[in-house]
Symmetry: C2
Subunit: 449 residues, 2 copies
């Protein structure tokens, strides 16, 4: 049943478009779901995609545009007039409309908004554009079903019918007072069994989850996930009802946040995809590589300082990639666990407890790995003092690397900085330098060169 | 408005529990949302938590149990009798019930199921237990609203009322034929405006998304996300309607998959949390560290083989951590982009195109980084031939590392293996060895030692 882009399908698409028979092209595309059309358009040339967008009804194409990749959407919108974009915007819910407008160049934004015929829609979009995109305000839509607590049941049903026509999916009915302050929610069932002249005041449920308009989007995601909500109302500080957020937007937030953290851990600074241009990819990757290079050059310096050991303990230098790798791997493991723990609010207990735990953990890992090094040294017939020096300094490096990996994210988080930046290359690079320095320092103390 | 565990709250909780006054404790906890009670219980001793669970109604505690961390749930369930667990199970939807039973030791599973009074519920749970937990079958619930296409509208409304009582949220009404084959869905609106004697057959929408029962859970997540679905029906190969999956379960799938990939990239083999035991954490972390250790010992061997270069080009050895770091970082970046691209189906085009792109990208990065190395060499007054050797061999290492990082996940994916395992330590370790070998090999060719 699942839609898949196949070569046959693409050939068919190209053949249909080449007929340039508007009716035939329309009939062909109209059969598909808007999300599938978006997938198809991403495989077409800009010219072809624009042709299809202009041909189909804006009821359908507005949804197609929202589904497209940001880059592809940008290119197509460039080919549309302000009037044409405004027509697409009219068909969208306010949240999607605001997102689409926000991507346009600034002077175009005003032109497009000026062309929107529905003045209320335009005003609502303008309001949404003012909110930071990473907040509840940036996620919410103005479309919702709300009723006044002073209405009778009959009045309420009548009003609801009108409002519901504008809302794609009615998740909840929100109850407000005369000042638009959120009071509670209404269950459809209670509404249906209540006497027609009864007041909403007497039947609504005063317990309702809500979020403030300036709440961080990740926090909203946590609340909706925790309480299994499919929609949540958004209010300002005085509890005026401003909008609502639905679960499908939250799914996107969760995905995007997870991908961002993953990329940061892999040393990629901005959201990129495998199919972005080489230039975009370089911009995202090169900074971390330069950081890694500086770390490596730092190691060159450190080793240069212990040059005199080369004559007696040359093998010490052969172990530096191993030490760097251990320091890096342990640091990345520790930081990943802490970053995830912080994100999920499971990092509990005092810092001292955490410190003891990390030291304990590193001791177990370090002793196990040290044992393997000792076996290796025995096989290689290194002098016992040399093998033990390697094993013990590696153990120390592992402990320090674990502590750095654990506490740098915690400190960043306490200072309000996203701890996710302290994973991946950041931790490996600093641990490489720390590790190699510590390794030689301990080796010098133990072997006395 | 948001619930937060504070020290004051915990003191209050402890004070209430210490009264051992059942009524007071009941009244205190009954005020809270089940998800919040779960948060509180995770802060209590096992004894206290069990006391609260036994005290509250199973209507509430069943939801609390589902919200608990798996470890905490397991400990509490150990303290309950098969009968008590069965009572909790009766209150749960079949999907949650099956998940909870699946966690029990095998002989307990049968005891608990035998104690479930509602035989239909028990049979449905047994059916769900048979599906693999990573498939649509493992995610779905049996609770849904379905109507027969041959029913009249009146009949349909009557049946629906009964069914809806058992379903927490009615997302869709599914239409089946006499053989329980999924035919389509019904819109509540169409049902309400249809004549009472009309047949469902004449008003239902035949276009309905569905997934097969053996479909991978990540695929289900993709479909529901792509089409913005809040629920999807699950069918077998003959399209018999078996159950339905709701979006809240999909949110969990997305989160868990993202966390798994993130942990794999960080070198952690199984799902662990910051608050797991040292033993659990060691089990998850040590295997990758051992792999890294073997990689490091491999480098020791390789360098040992080039020992004769020490007398003339000792600085070559100082650069090994830098080379290893570059190879590792580049490999991790490439693999992360490919792994995400594969997950999101955006890796398009031929392998040759991808190869050319990676080589192009590596050339740009490598030349930029090589430039920095040349500046460094100039400052350090290395001989020009030596500096160029480092820069050029580093460039080659970067290209190879990018290719390994790109193609190992692609090859794994083609063979049906999760490409996410080829990120993090796997790639860094293999690239460390490859990189150092290549570095010395090229240096030997260029410098001729």
């Amino acid at each position: 049943m699942q839609f898949k882009i196949t070569n046959e399908l693409l050939e068919e698409v190209h053949a249909v478009i080449e007929t340039a028979n508007d009716e035939q092209v329309f009939a062909f595309f109209n059969e598909y779901h808007h999300a599938d059309i978006a997938d198809i358009l991403e495989e077409l040339s800009l010219e072809q995609a624009t042709y299809v967008i202009k041909l189909l009804d804006s009821e359908k194409t507005s949804d197609v545009l929202i589904e497209l990749d940001e880059d592809d959407r940008e290119r197509i919108l460039k080919n549309l007039s302000a009037k044409e974009i405004a027509e697409e915007i009219e068909e969208l819910d306010t949240d999607d409309a605001a997102d689409m407008i926000a991507e346009l160049p600034e002077e175009r934004q005003e032109n497009v908004i000026a062309q929107i015929e529905d003045e209320e829609h335009a005003a609502e979009i303008k309001e949404l554009l003012a909110y930071d995109e990473d907040t509840a305000g940036g996620l919410m839509a103005k479309e919702l079903v709300k009723v006044n607590e002073n209405w009778t049941v009959t009045q309420c049903v009548k009003e609801m019918r009108e409002q519901a026509a504008e809302v794609t999916r009615v998740h909840s009915i929100y109850v407000v007072d005369d000042n638009n302050i959120l009071k509670g929610r209404l269950s459809l069932k209670d509404l249906l069994v209540a006497p027609a002249r009864g007041k909403i005041k007497d039947i609504y449920i005063p317990k309702v989850d809500y979020v403030y308009v300036d709440e961080d989007d990740e926090e909203v995601a946590k609340v909706m996930q925790k309480y299994d909500l499919e929609a949540i109302p958004v209010v300002d500080q005085e509890k005026h009802l401003l909008g609502r957020i639905t679960i499908d937007d939250i799914v996107d937030v969760i995905k995007i946040e997870a991908e961002k953290d993953y990329q940061l851990a892999a040393g990629i600074t901005q959201e990129v995809e495998a199919d972005d241009s080489i230039f975009e990819l370089t911009k995202a990757r090169l900074p971390w590589l330069v950081l890694g290079l500086f770390g490596g050059l730092g190691s060159v310096f450190i080793m240069g300082g212990y040059e005199e050991a080369l004559s007696t303990y040359k093998e010490l230098f052969f172990f530096t990639p191993l030490i760097a790798a251990m320091a890096g791997n342990v640091g990345v493991q520790s930081s990943a666990i802490i970053v995830q723990g912080l994100a999920n609010d499971v990092v509990k207990g005092s810092l001292l407890q955490r410190l003891l735990k990390e030291v304990g953990l590193s001791l177990i890992n370090g002793i196990a790995l040290g044992g393997l090094v000792i076996i290796f040294g025995y096989i290689m017939q290194y002098p016992a003092s040399f093998t033990f020096t390697i094993a013990i300094s590696m153990l120390c490096v592992i402990i320090i690397a674990a502590l750095v990996g654990t506490f740098v994210p915690i400190i960043l988080d306490k200072r309000g900085i996203d701890p996710a930046i302290a994973t991946g290359p950041f931790i490996t690079t600093s641990n490489d330098i720390f590790g190699i320095f510590l390794f030689f320092y301990i080796a010098k103390l133990m072997l006395g060169f």
